[in-house]
Symmetry: C2
Subunit: 230 residues, 2 copies
């Protein structure tokens, strides 16, 4: 098999781990590869970096082609550089991760390579192409560290959310259950949430108030050295 594959030269790619939250679960966006190598395997979306393209730019390009989203905050995760990680040549890959908000109307892929993209439960990934299981594992680790110290929970939810939904995000990512009263005290105590004059509709129980996250205030406080800390 390897003999029929064309050789690349030394090159670099980006891979984008995209986190989402749905059905009470943390998810990762995967694609079905339709080219060798690893044809028909599932994989983390990625692409080679063009010669005249910043790697950060390549990462946002891949994300845009996959989801139609622009201006998403992406953070560099780690660079994977084992000699034999790519069967066709020396390709090191710079992995990024991002967190995207679930919207009502779903994703709008801009490119054919994304035709078979879908959400997969982050804690139960299948066997992936290349060293992508390692990449996903590292991204999960990083997300779990990060949520303790930055308010990323909000970015996985719609703009308006209930406190219970937010609590579920935290529980899904950390894997630990949290006391409802203590959670609310802390999260409201940070003074970064605004209670709306609106409640959930159409639920078969007492309707919860909706809240929004005050991103501007957070950024201001963060620049003053405040640390979030849940």
């Amino acid at each position: 098999m390897a003999a029929t594959l064309k050789k690349l030269h030394s090159d670099f790619s980006v891979d984008c781990v995209v986190f989402g939250f749905d059905e009470g679960e943390l998810k990762i966006l995967l694609i079905d590869r339709n080219e060798a190598p690893f044809k028909e395997w599932k994989a983390i979306p990625g692409n080679l970096v063009a010669k005249s393209e910043d790697i950060d730019h390549a990462a946002s390009r891949v994300l845009y082609e996959l989801t139609g989203l622009k201006d998403v905050y992406q953070e560099q995760l780690y660079t994977f550089g084992k000699v034999n990680r790519h069967p066709q040549g020396r390709v090191i890959t710079v992995a990024y991760y991002s967190i995207i908000r679930r919207t009502e109307d779903g994703l709008h892929p801009m490119s054919s390579f994304a035709r078979e993209a879908y959400w997969w439960p982050a804690n139960d990934l299948p066997k992936l192409a290349f060293d992508h299981n390692e990449i996903a594992e590292k991204a999960l680790q990083r997300l779990r560290e990060k949520i303790l110290v930055e308010p990323i929970g909000f970015e996985l939810l719609p703009k308006e959310f209930t406190l219970t939904q937010l609590q579920h995000v935290y529980e899904a990512i950390t894997g630990e259950d949290v006391d409802k009263r203590n959670f609310r005290k802390r999260i409201l105590g940070s003074d970064l949430l605004k209670q709306l004059n609106k409640k959930q509709a159409g639920v078969a129980h007492r309707a919860a108030y909706l809240y929004t996250f005050n991103e501007k205030k957070y950024k201001k406080l963060k620049n003053q050295g405040m640390i979030f800390g849940i």
Copy 2:
């Protein structure tokens, strides 16, 4: 000037930020470049990665050539991939950092490119070649985050050290003064230090006990999920 430089093709390098502690100060190892581009500028030591070399391996090779040290723990820091960061071609660089223990007999460089390596105060770096100031800044940031959560202070000191020396390391890295009694309570409370039956010699004041860090015990506890936290 640019016209006289030979063109590289797309490639990758590693750069190694090496931290040390001396004269009560955090230091970084710098070299004087003796080749274009940036000839005679100071720089963070680095090298191209060979085609058949893992990037982690390249990082330890550079460190070995520079210092003669093997088996030093190095951690990947960040990958810098702006298109124009290298004037001779597209070279992305994977930065690593490491922490080395001050020894009595100094460094033993293994390669000529290191002839002019020396320690420079980390908080007062000169203007460096390429984007190396950015790299150093990121490494410092990372070290400051890391010391709050892993016992790296010990790795900057000789195997046997006094509690005051250790406190100075923490203060130099975090930039904040610490209460002596509280510092000692915490650090001894972690139960990772062993007091030796030895004291400092030749100091013009009451001699302090020497301690060693119990690395094995730390690794065991860490694997059980313990977090250090100073």
